[in-house]
Symmetry: C2
Subunit: 393 residues, 2 copies
């Protein structure tokens, strides 16, 4: 992205890591510095290159948020060093969360910046609870309100009559601590006690929890269910649609965080299948592919390749280290001329084909006996066989 | 995604194709059927597999929108055939646009579905015009309003006193045709004539156009500038921030649609660089890489490879067809044993390395004379040289 410093204000989306935008991912991949807070799913930092600096600027535990001036100062300082700075913000940068102020500070400093909008929690969190925030017959407007402010504050107070008479949907972000005051103000300004309310905690993540009630009973229900922040509050008739549209919490593996212990390079496919069924796959490889402690054995074999007749690749993990080592030794696939290549399993053969090489033999039975039978048939008697070891630790 | 039919209600985002979510892209890549309308950027259909059925369900020209019941019927029919159906909707599926009704119909039909929220135009379009819809000191609420409805309709009319007295930001979607009525209602219910207004047409795309005024003069300005749908209307003090935060329209190549004529396989990198500077790259390859009409010459050379001493790859486009043909003939990189490989340019060498092969010679001068000099030095006298032709049509 050029050699000049630049700032990207990136919306991280509501939590589900797949709700990041393509542009947001690109920015993270090119970041030198990332400043993130507690509403942005930390899994998104996996997109950031290893060399990049990661700076947490959210609140510490249950404590106060970091001073906004300090965050602005950090962003500007890093960009002035010529770095690509990503300010990763939960949801959308311009829906509360003070992205506007950050943009003003960056612009005032004369630095180039780009805004990368995100999927806002105000829409997506209700959607994951089966609640469309607008609906042709139920709500032709939707208002987002920051519940962060003290509702008795004079300025905020002026909003209540207007909010209470709204026919549309109201979505309060960051309002959980003020829930009793919010409910009280809506009712005292005229909103019906029977108005449906939904509270959705950690929406779009596997830990999502939803509590539904009315303005009359929601405060009690919230206490009972111990609903703490971060929780989105939805007020309006659209909440009723949840009984039909609750697609996310009803999936077979909903709420399950599942450890995927396969090696990182191989976990992706399994993770996608689990996510499709509603689980949150957590990749935690118990196998890590590492180079062998010594290349001596392999180097000796490479030096004498001409004396071998077969190479057997026993898994996908053996192919790359072998071909890479060949390359590092100044050789390439041509060095395998005259050798026959056997792959255990079609995936291994596929991996080999990425190096321009066709497996001459792919036994249909993957057990040792099956391989031996297949090779007998292919004619292995009296031949020298090289079996590169998988690089597994 | 399993063999059962399933429906994905996918938000396409506001127009910029990079504002699609990662999940949205995954769904498109697995679609058997895509139903899309005119607000979803058609470029997104590039993610859809070639075999998939594409059904346009938006309005025809300036005519009426397709009947909603008909759209619902189509979605259900296709899903019942066991297909993966993607309903691609501009912006977010649940912010107007009748996604809620579609979800109800799908749920009523007993079909599984997933909602993939998108970046809503109501937030992102103002952001691309330099307008944050919320701001700590200027707007602690934001309301989205469908401007589609007749503002004199009794039900809609009840909203106006409330909307007019709002201190927060108002965003009207699909309201351009009703602009005069919207302005009149806001003013007659008490909103100041001096309230800033922005109109943003085709927001987030290279054709984005913004007109700024106040409730007093915006109707005249809109006529003058010929602002037609699709245009987002923003009303509120946050519009003033545009003077400092207008990052998108001020980029060096803003508003330029640039034809990228490189072959499709090679256009990506250039397109990304252009987009970074604000252009909208339109990939329109004037060169298409196709196989030669006859493989005879190459096949003859492959059959006699042993009689050659050098292979010269003159461009990246020569590498793949050669290696693929080798594979189709039951051979692979091993067949090049004993031959020396020359690549014109480091990119060609890189392409070759993807096939497990190291270039033995990469002349630093790409002109024919340079290549010849380099090969003279490497020792080419009296040797047979094979130069596979680029597969260019």
């Amino acid at each position: 992205m050029g050699t000049l410093g630049k700032v990207y204000l990136v919306g991280a989306g509501p939590g589900d890591q797949k709700l990041l935008t393509l542009r947001g991912k690109e920015c993270l991949e090119q970041a030198d510095v990332v400043l993130y807070d507690y509403l942005a799913n930390p899994v998104l930092l996996d997109h950031v290159p290893a060399h990049a600096e990661r700076i947490y600027v959210g609140r510490r535990g249950r404590g106060r948020y970091q001073d906004q001036d300090e965050v602005n100062r950090l962003i500007i300082e890093k960009a002035r060093e010529g770095k690509v700075v990503v300010r990763l913000k939960g949801g959308d940068p311009f829906v509360f969360g003070r992205g506007g102020e950050e943009a003003e500070a960056i612009a005032a400093a004369g630095l180039p910046f780009e805004v990368v909008p995100g999927v806002t929690s105000a829409v997506a969190v209700p959607a994951y609870a089966g609640i469309p925030v607008t609906h042709r017959t139920l709500a032709s407007t939707v208002a987002f309100v920051t519940g962060h402010e003290d509702p008795t504050k004079e300025e905020a107070a002026r909003e209540w009559p207007r909010l209470a008479t709204a026919n549309g949907t109201l979505v309060f972000l960051m309002g959980m601590k003020n829930l009793p005051a919010i409910v009280e103000h809506l009712v005292s300004e005229g909103k019906s006690q029977e108005t449906p309310v939904a509270l959705i905690r950690w929406g779009t993540r596997s830990g999502q929890r939803t509590v539904v009630g009315t303005l009359r009973d929601i405060v009690g229900k919230a206490e009972e269910a111990e609903m703490d922040p971060p929780t989105v509050i939805v007020v309006g008739d659209v909440v009723r649609l949840r009984t039909q549209l609750n697609w996310f919490e009803t999936r077979p593996l909903f709420g399950k965080r599942i450890l995927v212990t396969r090696a990182q390079e191989q976990a992706r496919e399994l993770s996608a299948l689990l996510a499709e069924q509603g689980a949150e796959p957590v990749e935690c490889p118990t196998i890590r592919l590492v180079p062998p402690e010594s290349w001596r054995e392999l180097d000796e074999a490479i030096a004498e390749l001409r004396r071998y007749h077969w190479v057997i690749f026993t898994s996908v993990n053996g192919v790359r280290p072998f071909m890479e080592r060949l390359r590092q030794r100044g050789q390439d696939a041509r060095a395998l001329a005259g050798l026959r290549l056997c792959c255990i399993g079609p995936r291994t053969a596929q991996e080999l084909s990425a190096y321009g090489l066709r497996a001459d033999l792919v036994p249909s039975d993957y057990q040792a006996e099956g391989v031996i039978d297949a090779m007998k048939t292919a004619g292995v008697a009296g031949q020298r066989v090289l079996i590169p070891r998988d690089a597994v630790a």
